[in-house]
Structures are given as structure tokens and as C-alpha cells.
Subunit: 445 residues, 4 copies
């Protein structure tokens, strides 16, 4: 990558409603991150959305007056040629599949969530073969590019790339840590850049081990605020049922919003059942939001990111992604929490597994800070999810029925082997169009 | 310990209904294990039982014609002086406490079990301070003795001794592995000594990683039999609801009966609730059995172990204990599965934690065989229980309310932080007479 | 391997002067180890010796009256077909090559020894490609056989098999640990079976961490005896210059004879130079012994192992080998120190590296006992040799000049990078006929 | 530490000839590092030098016009009260002791060097008790201060603090890594801030694992230059004898200048012997330099750091120290190579040991970047030195003769146990005034 020519970025799943966030971020950083070509790629089923989003992107770029060329295409290979960065934000099976990931488990009194439990497993089973295809294309067409993956379940997807390909230039990215940092800043009523958090764990299972304000450790203060009812901190898609105060104080670290599914399984399930009956699952709510957004995007007078996008749930995604790309490109050596290879950073997690951890971001990739042992009370859960991710990613690649069922059964949100089998079978059938690797089953069973 | 003099053994909780099993085992092995003194120790509340059991023991020894002297005492210190082996099989709070450990969680739709979940936690909280007292006495009165602990939760108790005392001559003993081996032998219709199992994990969370018949690996065959309905394998106190076949085949290792609580949580809970309503909890069933047993023991014509003792649930305890003591005493270097310090045997478990693993039993203690990494699908659960045991043992020693609550909340059988708090508070109150270390709470809260 | 048919054993390097030891061992154990066929294999250059040794073997078997059939062949593949055990005791380049391994380093004031330092490296470079060929043949011709390797450097050879083949049924065997045990028994004037030593480390770098007599730890006593001049302990090929007493007492573990090269480098070198000038290097001495032995072997009246064989240096090899094969075959589960895969037994050594450590010997192979951390003062040296073995085995396989030089330079017996280069170049030239993998150098350099 | 008041810094060994470097650094950074009080502490024997240096410091501060108050004192406790940073740069026994550390080993044909081999051991034995005294004072008088230790052997000293005190706010600092970076920059003819090196290892045994120029990996290029004779890189006190090219290329990482003692032991020894005979040991050369420097310092017209100081050998010390203090104070989160607790950063080194590794410097201290496994060829040497440092620091604290001898014997520069004993005894006698912890020996031996 010579600095003379501009940067070429390819966004797979470019027709996503999130894309305007990304465009905005690129425009803001144009001076340090001179993108000359941005290729938005999508699949035929997404062509309309791609065109709508692409046209908006074009107007945004024009409005900003930056010389960034927007390309729209359904031909991934054409787009990938010579790319410097590839971002992935696609959703195999679209929101319909997500709705199934959420609805089916609920029928069995099990958490229905797109990145955790049975839903997370099936999202992984659908996504991993596609990402491995992309990686294979990249090996041929842009072997020096970085893959920045936003597609969930980002931890399992990154794990799968490490275990089932030779591609190493991948960073898994999530807006949860930045959301936690913003939440803490708000809670303390300070600018976010005065807050620093030692993040460590796995994707959607990341803890804030220490929280600093201007370098002073304020972890206890923050946890007190969180447990006193003074402050809340969650994401638009996860209900805040309040933490049991003494428990959280004794845990002594900041959980992420998704930890609620594990530390409050019963209560979250009740709430979910209520909400699903009441206003639909999250996918169903988001579907409506998306339709509204695309209506807005079509407005030819809209030449910037509409405010309504914030409700969509991806807050800070753009910032996280653009900051990461900027630091990789400019060798900034700043600290960002990303999904990368453990390499000994977190004790007891295999060196070649994906973890979500603070890293120094260099041109040569993210270098994790050594965490050592996680606090004893958090280790088991982290190991359970890592085991789950590893078994799940093996199932995604092999299409082996029993391995998939094993992943489902060892997931801590699934209450028993027999229920696991029932859910697994129903979901396998429901998603079968997107799980070709399991298709041999139809013959052999 | 000079071999000239006979061996002195002290059994704390000597009034237990299990004692005749032990006596029988000692008598059978008298030639290689020449016990000259056996001290049965109990607390004042157990004096009647102690006298009954002690008299039976006396008759058994006489009948067998071995020169083993039986001493009965309520004075632990007197008994411990110069002991060679100390076995512990006491139950703080007796079966009444166990009944509470089983009943209270069920009120909250949580597994009620004496060694797992909330019940296991509270049994640990009651037991650990007592075992640490015993260890302190041993340091003074019999510093060269081995402590053989049968008292449950044996894993947590052994962990507590490693972390909160300097005593290292302790072995935690459980009849689960020997039960699994016997079960496999029966299933294969062969003599048990042709079967060998590579045991590894934690107490009541031990797996059979490989099963051998005459040295040939038959793991797959055994699992096939278990999942085909051809064979069952459990313990008298744990229902066999049948394993989901594909899950177990994919797990690829032999679970222990207690694993059902984790891999079949929902179904076990339903069954437990049914049975509790129907015929009472296990403690209540056992109480009746015990009353019957003691009636039998009182019969002066009884001069051996009555057959009915088998139903009591402690099958193979005597064999396990006597074999262990025999191998320690005679430096036999045979392989036995016991709870001992990990010392690197199981990867990812701290070196100074207790594990249940195959060991070579020498005069210098058990030496674990290296296991390396556990199969990936089993790691998370093992880590969760180890985290739980460590936090729980800290709570037992410090009497810290929040630490206790933390242990309860991170236990995988407890569905949420709020339920954890409710159960914890109710159990703390119910057991308060046996939890003096938590008593300062009454003042400060 | 069905027990009905007798056992088929193949000995590669069957023309070795050691073979009668092995034959004697097999005859003694015929009842438990019913060998029906013993194939002695050698290379054309060794045909005469093979015939001499084979004829003696035949006479020994007849004398003993056991129905063991002796086959002599130069066709390795024919021999390997359907073998149950393959033992390897060949020497690539014969004693001539050994003499060079010993002589050349001495010219540079560097220890000249066949298994340590430059000599060990070149012995490894010559041997590893041959052993990997054998393993390849075994994969095809006797995939269920065990390979028992005596060929030195046994640690490096075992490491190479683990890293550069998929063969796992290999045990590296050395007579050093059994020699240490015998030495201790003699020193304490007791039967060897009352002595037990916790062996751990690497081949020719193994420590006795604890020494037991009848199960009681007597390590300190033994070290006192060793350092007081009361007792000596070495092997026929290693001079005993006496340990510095306070050093050894502080080290606190029993070193093996080869440790002298590392802890007494300067003094051993002086002595070696003296002896080489005086009576020749060890290879030269051994050559004479061998000639004498083969003269004896030719005597048709000799129908058993001649006494003079003891001087040859391989004391206890036969016992070590036969005991190992017996325990593997009969699933004895006794403890023997062998070279096997670490699998976590010794902390800080990679799990997939070869270590020399006490193992339980089962039909399924050796299972190492967990050692945990080696004593701190011993760790560095062990790590250095393991690094050396790994780099050396890579050089042996790739024939890469620089990798070979790297191995030489990081060996702790080599005093500098420039001397390393000089020795490496001279030895590469001297041994070039046996190092075909390095031959491309002639062209490219 | 409230930011309102200025910073209080205490420099122990303030009379050192290096102090003007430090003063210059503090003056340059006054804006971001507003030091209000600088206390220079020394011992009575150093009073004259302290006064000379102190007067120069005073003139430098005046010349610069910064409101930094200079205090000179022999009373360490008075100085430490309420300090924010304490820097240590003392030399127990002064240059006379160093001369002995260099001269005595040479008599035995062993490297004589102040931080490696026997000299390093004795410098550690003299220094560690003093640093532990300082730490004890700090616990009482300035419990929130950071200790920045420059006193060599910095690795062993930091290790001793971790193992033999509860003080954790310590950073060991060395100018070797910054010297390597400067050397590379010079070699590539670029500004140093375009160069980044992944440092990892131990103090005076640190490797540059990867070298980057503007984020691009140029390790191979740098090594080529180093081995082609195009460029050299060393320190003023270490001769550059040239690396053996193929060796270094195969090692594949950048060694530090001190690695020469290990990879070129024989040649370095020869050179040392020559130089010692010729112009004296380094201490003797430095003594002359120091005398000249102090003559200069006395000149009342001198109001800045004299140029001649550069020759003294401590190049970049001031920059390293001031940058570190600045980053700690201002929570800069930049990357600096320092000696800190491993915490899992380097695999196979204990978590609680000191390592020299790239860290993110925060107000909460240095956070090491995860290195994972060191390259295989470098592991042994690093482990040997770590073992040596641990045994040595134990000897320093306990004053145990045998432990000291053990440290000496396992040092890779010492050729045999008997030579170790001779050197150890002579050095113990030579330094006895500074080794009170060993003094009981006079009575007991």
C-alpha cells in the first residue's frame, strides 16, 4: 500500500442501513484517511437497498466536497481487486432470519437473541461459510488488505477465520466497548476522552476490568452508581432490568450489556416473552425502523446522515470502524478494544483464539495488552462462551449435525440436552436455505 | 510413622451410618494395613449414634478376630494425638440441614441438591470452617498424618484447605469415579479390574476421558450403549433421565451422574419438583433409611455390615477409602482417581487448585497424571465450577456476605442475580446456627 | 494385535554389539512376552556383524529352549510387515562418524561428545532423516506397532518425530535413568526396587527431583553422600570429576551424569583433551571393545551373553527396553522414565515436545505424571536444550544451513558464534556422505 | 497527588555524574512536568560530589529560569516525605566495587562485567538490600510515589522488589532499548520517531523481535545491514566484534549489545583480557572520565550539561527517565520499553517476574503488550537469566551462602561449579563490607 495513491475501501453488505454512518465517518476523517474509492457491494436480493444507500452516499460525498468515488456493484470479486480495507456488515438471510433466531428459542422458553444462545449459534452457522468465501477471494485479489468485520457474532466469526483459514489480517469490531465507555462518561458527566477502560473478554462478553478517569481508578465509584439506581447503562436492543447491587459490587468489574443474558437469564427471558407478545421481537421492531429509514434515504434532498439512524442500534459503529481504519493506516499506536488473536494476552484462553481486548493499533495490526488472569469469578463464563464459539465454528465449517448440536447444548443459555435437540432441529429446518453445508443431512438421515 | 507399631486411624463423624462399611474394609485389609487403633469421634449431639455404631464396630472386629482397638470419644483433640490417618465424614447440621439445602432452592425453581448449586454452596459454607479447625488441630497433634476427606462438597473443601491453610497432606475422596468404573464394567459384563478409565475434572464434575477394556480403547462403544438405551448408569441419589444420544456421542467422553444437573438442568428440576412433592427430597428419604439402619445396628446379634446399608448411597466408599489408605501406607504406586492439587495436570486450572484426576498413589501422596487440555466442549463448565468453588471457599473463610452472594450468582444452576439474592438470604437465615462466620452481619446490616 | 498369535519384534540396527543383551532380556521374559518372531535388520555395510550377532542370537534361543524364531535381513520393508514392536538402535556412519563427532569439536576447545554439543547436533542431523524414513515405512507396513527408539540423541529424535511426522506411537528410551536408580541403590546399599526417583527433564538432561527409599524422601541424604566423596555415580563413558558440594546441595536435585558437561564444562573439557591425547576418544576406545566383542561372538561355543559386554556402556539397556515392551504389551501400568510427549507434564515446555519423565506405561502408551514447575535453578538449562533440540530437528529435516548453524550457536557448550561456524563447517564437510539433505549446498554456495 | 501542587522528585544517588543529564531533561519538560522540588540524596561518602553536582544543578535551573527548587541532603527519610517520584541511581561501593566486579572474574578467565556474570551477581547482592530498605521507607513516607530504578542490575533489582516486598509501584529503566532504537534509526538514516521496535526479554537481555519503519516491517533489512558490515550498533562500554552473519540472520531478531557476552563469550573474554591488560577495565576507564567530569562540574561558569558527559556511557538515560515520568504523570498511554511485572506478556516467564518489554505507560503504571512465545531459539537463554536473577535475588535477601553459589554456578558465563566456588569466595571476601547479610558466615564457617 503506497501512500501516494488514495485508499480503496470495499464494504460488503453495502446496502445496509448503517452505511450512511460509515460514509459520514469517512468524510470527517478524509484528511488523514484519503479514501479515493469506496465500493459498496451487495447481493442481488439487496440491489434496491444498495441503490438507495449508494445514491445517498453519493449525495453525502458531494455535499462534503471530498473526492471519494462511490462504486456500487453486485460483483464482489470485481470490487475486491486491490482493496486496502474490506469491511463486512452483511446479514445472511436478512432480518427475516434474525426474526427466526429470536422467535424459535422463545417457543422453548429459551432466550431468543441474535448473537447469544441458539440465535447466535445459527447466525454463526449462516455467516461463517460466507466470510470464509470472502477471505478466500481476498487471498487472491487483495492479499495485503485488512478485513474489518462487523458482522455478528463477531467473536465466533473471527475465531472461525483463525481456525479455518490462513488469513490473519482480520479485526473483529463491535460497538459494545465504545458504548460502555460513552455510558461511563455520561454517568460521570465528563468528556469521553477523559475515560479509559481496561477491556478484556470476548465479543459480547467483554468486561471493563478497571475504569479510569484522568488516569485515576474510579471502578468502584462507577459500579456504585450503576447499582444505586443513579445511573443506567445499556444498549437500545437490551433491556436494563437493574443489577443486583451486592452481586455487582462483589464482581468488581463492569459487565457489558449482554452479560445480562447470563447473569439474569430468568428475568431477561420473562421480559423477552412479554415484549415479543406485546410489540414483537427486536428483529420485528428493527424491520419497521429500517423501512422508515429507507424511506428517508430515498429523499433526494437528504444529503447527510439522518438523525433517526441513531435509534437503529448501531451507535458508535462508524466511529469505532473509522478510528480503527485510521489507526491501521496511519500506524497511530493508540489503544482500541477489538477482536484479535489472543497471543497470551488473556491467561487460559488458547493463544490462537479470538478475544476482545484493548490493543495498540499499528500498521502491522492490533497488538493486545497483556491482561494476565481474568478475575476468578468471571473466568468460567468466558471459558464457556469460548468453548461454545470454537465448537460452533467447527460445526459451521464441517456442517456436522452432531457438532452443531454439541455447540447448542453446551451454550449456557440452553437448559438441557433434549431441549437443545428440539430447538436445533427446528432452527436447522427454518434456516435450511442458508445452511448448505448441512444439506447432505437430507440424504443421509 | 515406623512400621513396627500398628496404624492409628481417626474417623471424625464416626457415628455416621457409613462407618460399618469402613470397618468392614479395614478388617478385610488387616494383613497389609495393620490398624491397631481406630478412634471414632463425634460431637455431643451425635453421642447416641456414636455409641450404637461403636458397639457394632466392636462386635465386627471381635467377630473377625483382628486386634484392632476401637475407641469412642467426643474429644477430637485426644483422638488426633499421633494419628497416622484421619478420615472425615461428618455432616454439619446433620440431615436437617441437608433437607434445607434441598428444599429452599426448589421454592425458587432452582435445583436443590446437597453438593451442587445453592445447596452445595451452603454445605460448603458450613463445612469449611470445621475442616480448617480440624487441620489446625492436626498441625499440632499429628503433623505427619494424612487427612482423607469424604465430607462433601469434597472439591470445595479440598480447595479451601489448599487456599486457606498450609496443610498439604490431604486427599479428597469420592465414590463417583469408582461407581462409574463399576457401571461400565457391568455394562460391558466384565470384571471391573479389566476396565480402566482416564478420569479428569473436578469433584462431582469428573469426566471419563477414555475408557479401556484390557488396555483397548472402548470409549465409543460405551457411549453408544449408554445412548442406545441398552444401558443406564447413575447413582442411587440421581435420577437417570437418559442422555440425548447425538449430544453425548459428540461430547465423546463419559460424564458423571452429577453432570445431569448441568446438561439437563430443566428436566432434572422438573423431576425434582415432582419427587419432592411426591415422596420428599433425598434428605427426607435418607432420614428414613438412616432410622431403619440404626435400628438394625442396635441389634446385638448383628456382627457384620447389614445388607441394607447398600441402599444408603455410599456404595464403594469403603473400598475407595481403604484402597487409598492402603496405597498411601504401603507406597503401592497404583492409580486411583482422587482430589488433589492440580500441579499442572489439567491445563487452564490453576496449579494450586484441587482437581479430581487419576493419580499414582505413593507414600509421599498422590501424583496426578498429566491430562493436558480437557476436550474443548468440557472446559467451560469445569472452569465455571472451579471459579464457583474458589469464590465459595473464600466466602466460607471470610464470612463475607457479598462474596457468598457472588458465589451463588456465578453458579451455573442459578438463573439470575436477583433470584440468587433471594435464595442466599433465605438459606443464610435458615442455616445461621452453623454459619457463625457470617454472624457479624446481624449487627452491621 | 490379538494375543493368540505371538509377538513380532523388529530390531533395526540388529547387528549391534548390544543385541545379545536384548536377546537375553526377551528370553528371560518369554512367559509374559511371548515373542514368536524377532527380525534383526541391518544395512549392507553391517551384513557381517549381523550374521555374527544373528548366529549368536540363534544359539542363545536354542540354549534357552524358547520357540522364538530369529530372522536376519537387509530388507527393512520385509521385516516391518505386521510388526508389533520396532526397536531402533542403529548408528548412521558407524563408530567412525562418532569419532569425528568427538574429535572435531576438541580441535576448537569445545566438548566433543556424541549426544551433547556439536557432536550431538551432527548425530541428530544424520539420524533424523533415517528415523523419519522408518516411520514412513511403519505407517504403511505396521501402523499399529510401537516404535521403541534407543538411537541417540534420543530426545532430539523423538522431538523430530513429533514435529515432522504424524506418527505418535513412539517411545524414546535411555538407560540413564535406570543407571541413576541403580547407582542410588548401590550408594544406599539397598535393593533397587526399594528406590524410587521422580525423574523429569530431557534426555541426557534428566534430573531426579526426589529420591525415595521405601516411600520416604531421602534426596538430601543421597546428595550428601554424593558430595561428601563417600559415593560416586556416573556411567562408563563419563568421567566423575566430583561435584562442588555446596552447589549440588543448593541445587537440591540429583543431576544425571551428562549434566557434568554443563555444570563443569571447563573441567570436563580439560579432561577430555587429556584423555583424547592419551588413549583416544571414547569412540576409539569403544571401537577396540567392539572388535573384541565380535571376536567373542563368533565363538560357536558361546551360547549366552558374554560378561565383557557390560563394559560396553549400555548397561541396563536391555532391562529398560524389555520392561517397557512388556508393560506396553501387558498394560502393566507401572512407572517408567521414558521420552514421550509432554502434554503439560512439565510446565513451560511446549505440550507437543518430547520430555523424559516418569510415566505410567499402559497398552495405550506412556502417560506422564504431572511435574508442574521444575525447580527454578534447573529451568534455564532445560529450556536451552529444548530450544536446541527443536532448532536442530528442523535443520535435520530441512537441510537448511543457517538453521543448522543457529542450532550449533545456541548450544550452551559452544562458546561463540564464530567458533560455531568453524566447527559447523568442518563437521558438515566431514559427515557429508551421511547428510544428503544438506547436499544442495554444494551447488548453491 | 493533586495536580495543583508541583511535583516532588527525589533522586537517590543524586551526587552521580549523570545527574546533570536528568536536570536538563526535567528543565526541557517543565511545561508538562512541573517539578517544584527536586531532592538530591546521597550518602556521607558522597557528600562532596553531591555538593558539586547540586551546585551545578542549581545553576542550570537558574539559567533556564524554571521555578524548580533543588534540595541537597544526606537524610533520605527527610527527602522521601510526600515524594511523587523517586529515582534511584546509586552505586553501592562506588566505582571501586565495580572494578573488583570486573577484575576478579577475569583472573579465572571469566567475563568480568558489572551487570552480567559474576560481576552482575555481586552488584545485585550489594544493591538489593539497599533498594529494599528504600522501598520500606517509601511505604511509610510516600506510599503513592513511583519508584523509577536505574540502578543495575535493573532486572534483578526489579525482580527482588516483586518477590521480597509488597511494593508494586516500581519501574526498572534501562537505556539499552532506546540506544538500540537510535542505532537502528542511524543505520537507516531516518528520524528515530519513524522507527518502532517490538522489545521483549529481560534487562540487558532484550531482543528487538520486529523492527518497523513507518509501520512497515524492516527487521530483515536491519539484520542484513548489521551482518554485512555496513553498520555497527553497540554501546560505549561494549566492544563490537561483529556478528556471525548467517547466525544472526537465522536468529531473525535484533540482539542487544549485551547479548554479545552470551553469543560470543569466548571472543569477548579474549578482548576483555586484552583491554584490561592494556588500558584497564571499564571501571578504571570510567573512573578517569568521572574525575574529569567533576572537575568540569566545579566550574562556576558552567550553567548547562557539558558535552563530555556523553562519553560516560549513559546516553539516553535522561530521555528514557524523563519520558517515563512524564507519561506516568500525564497518563500519556504511549509505548515505552521498561522493566515491569510480566503478567502473562511473555509466555513461560512467571507472571510475577520482571521482564523488559514494550508497555503502554499510564498513570496507573506500565501495561505490557502481549508478546506470546518468544522465538524458539531465544527462549533458553532468557530462561537461564531469569532463573539466575531469581536465585540471585533470593541470595541477596537471605544472605545464604549456598544460594549465592548456586546463582553463580547456573550463570551461563561461568564455566564450572568449581570455578564458580573460587570466584564466589574471592568476591565475597572482596566485597564483604557491602554484604552485611552474608556476615554471619564469618562466625559459622
Amino acid at each position: 500500500m503506497t501512500e501516494k495513491k488514495g485508499i480503496k475501501i470495499v464494504t460488503i453488505g453495502g446496502g445496509s442501513s448503517y452505511t450512511p454512518e460509515l460514509i459520514e465517518g469517512f468524510i470527517k476523517r478524509y484528511d488523514s484517511l484519503p479514501i479515493s474509492e469506496l465500493w459498496l457491494v451487495d447481493i442481488p436480493e439487496g440491489e434496491d437497498k444498495l441503490n438507495t444507500v449508494g445514491a445517498l452516499a453519493q449525495r453525502m460525498v458531494e455535499e462534503a466536497g471530498v473526492p471519494m468515488k462511490i462504486h456500487l456493484t453486485l460483483d464482489r470479486k470485481e470490487a475486491l481487486k486491490g482493496a486496502d480495507f474490506v469491511t463486512t456488515q452483511f446479514r445472511v438471510g436478512l432480518l427475516d432470519a434474525r426474526a427466526k433466531d429470536e422467535r424459535i428459542p422463545l417457543k422453548y422458553n429459551v432466550i431468543g437473541q441474535e448473537t447469544n444462545g441458539p440465535g447466535g449459534l445459527f447466525k454463526g452457522l449462516r455467516t461463517i461459510p460466507v466470510i470464509l468465501d470472502i477471505v478466500q477471494d481476498m487471498e487472491e485479489l487483495c492479499p495485503n488488505a485488512w478485513l474489518i468485520n462487523f458482522t455478528n457474532p463477531a467473536g465466533m466469526v473471527t475465531e472461525a477465520i483463525y481456525r479455518h483459514s490462513n488469513w490473519r489480517k482480520v479485526v473483529g469490531l463491535c460497538n459494545v466497548p465504545v458504548g460502555m465507555k460513552m455510558g461511563v462518561a455520561q454517568m460521570l458527566d465528563v468528556d469521553a476522552d477523559r475515560v479509559h477502560i481496561d477491556f478484556a473478554g470476548l465479543n459480547h462478553m467483554v468486561y471493563g476490568l478497571n475504569i479510569y478517569l484522568d488516569g485515576e481508578n474510579v471502578t468502584e465509584t462507577v459500579i456504585k452508581k450503576l447499582t444505586s439506581g443513579e445511573a443506567s447503562m445499556t444498549m437500545s436492543n437490551i433491556m436494563d432490568l437493574g443489577w443486583q447491587p451486592e452481586f455487582l459490587q462483589s464482581l468488581g468489574v463492569l459487565p457489558c450489556p449482554y452479560h445480562r443474558y447470563y447473569y439474569q437469564t430468568g428475568r431477561m427471558l420473562e421480559k423477552e416473552l412479554e415484549e415479543a407478545a406485546d410489540k414483537g421481537t427486536r428483529a420485528e421492531v428493527v424491520q419497521a425502523l429500517e423501512n422508515d429509514l429507507f424511506e428517508l434515504y430515498k429523499d433526494e434532498n437528504l444529503r447527510g446522515k439522518p438523525e433517526q439512524l441513531e435509534k437503529r442500534g448501531g451507535a458508535y459503529y462508524s466511529d469505532a470502524a473509522c478510528n480503527l481504519i485510521d489507526s491501521l493506516y496511519n500506524d497511530r499506536k493508540d489503544i482500541q478494544p477489538v477482536n484479535t488473536m489472543n497471543n497470551g494476552a488473556i491467561a487460559s484462553i488458547p493463544n490462537d483464539s479470538a478475544v476482545e481486548v484493548n490493543c495498540v493499533i499499528t500498521k502491522d495490526g492490533p497488538k493486545p495488552l497483556a491482561v494476565g488472569d481474568l478475575p476468578v469469578a468471571t473466568r468460567g463464563l468466558v471459558q464457556e462462551i469460548k468453548s461454545f464459539e470454537r465448537v460452533a465454528s467447527e460445526a459451521a465449517v464441517t456442517g456436522d449435525y452432531k457438532t452443531g448440536l454439541l455447540a447448542m447444548t453446551i451454550n449456557p443459555l440452553v437448559p438441557s440436552d433434549h431441549v437443545a435437540k428440539e430447538i436445533f432441529d427446528e432452527m436447522l429446518e427454518a434456516h435450511k436455505d442458508y445452511l448448505p453445508q448441512f444439506r447432505h443431512l437430507e440424504v443421509t438421515q
